[in-house]
Symmetry: C2
Subunit: 199 residues, 2 copies
């Protein structure tokens, strides 16, 4: 049922495109826009078009960039390792710890029969091309430790191992500082099985 | 800490203007915009500016309108009653039940010492002007039954009663269909005190 004037309905529909936003939240957002001074709302609209114009995906790794290739791919001092992540946020999270000195590759998605995402939709052509052109010693598949992330990692393993490049995943275990009493069973079991000698 | 490229930071800051949106949600929204095809994002931006251009506040009642005065104020068959509400959504909620046939007045806010909102910020000049010019038999103060809504209603009562116009509030009580076992104490107490003979 259309209950608002058409321009408001259109605005509500647009807000519903955002992740996790239903009709009720979208309506609240639309009302907030209508309550803003015209100039503020225009600045909002411009920020959307300007971000879309200025920000592109790096043609090599899919990282967000305002230049031709991203600052990571442009950095010739990076190690010959490619860390494959699910999205740009994972990339940024890893960059921020300033401990990893290799390169990245951002997938276009993860395998998910539920959402109908198959191997063709992960954007792997570009990754495989890089593995052939660049000198790469190792691919770290840092997809999330979820069913989808694990399945994607297994698929990448099968695809890359035959080329003779080492494929690894980040270690799973109890988080540093965590209370073992509250660790979930699966994590705890894996952590015990993957135990290490004290050095 | 600025962790994104400037155009992305700007977009995140704009999304934070929306009600209830913090840094994390704003970032998720900004990322969704960056993941959209350019055309989709432009349509989004246009919806904002177009809604702002097309939709105005009715000069008589502050209802949203795409014309000069809103369809309610333009309706000469409406009863000589003004229902004062906190916002446009309350107005639409009441309109949708198709039971109330009077007019409306949308406040610009409710009294709130916490948020520093005093009587001057409610936009009451316009309401008082209407009460003088229009033939009004009753003002129903349908602000929310909260401390702020009740305080605002009491203030309006003091302001309007001297003019000789009847001021009322909607009845409080147990909602139709509710389970008395789960009714809150305050509501239940008020409902019992305001009991009516069975007719």
């Amino acid at each position: 049922m259309s209950e608002f004037l058409p321009p408001i309905e259109t605005l509500i529909e647009q807000f519903r495109r955002l992740p996790g936003v239903g009709r009720k939240t979208a309506t609240r957002y639309a009302m907030a826009i209508l309550d803003m001074p015209a100039e503020t709302a225009n600045t909002f609209a411009e920020a959307i078009t300007e971000a879309k114009t200025a920000i592109k995906r790096c043609p090599l790794c899919n990282n967000l960039t305002d230049g031709d290739i991203c600052y990571i791919c442009a950095d010739t001092t990076r190690e010959k390792v490619i860390c494959v992540v699910e999205d740009t946020r994972a990339l940024m999270r890893i960059e921020r710890i300033r401990d990893y000195r290799g390169k990245f590759f951002v997938l276009s998605g993860v395998l998910s029969p539920m959402k109908g995402i198959g191997p063709d939709q992960l954007g792997l052509d570009k990754l495989m091309e890089r593995l052939q052109k660049e000198e790469v010693e190792e691919v770290i598949v840092a997809t999330n430790p979820t069913i989808e992330g694990d399945t994607t990692a297994a698929y990448l393993m099968k695809l890359i191992a035959p080329i003779g490049i080492k494929v690894t995943r980040p270690a799973l275990g109890i988080p540093v500082g965590a209370d073992i009493e509250y660790a979930d069973e699966v994590t705890l079991a894996r952590a015990l099985r993957a135990r290490n000698p004290i050095t």
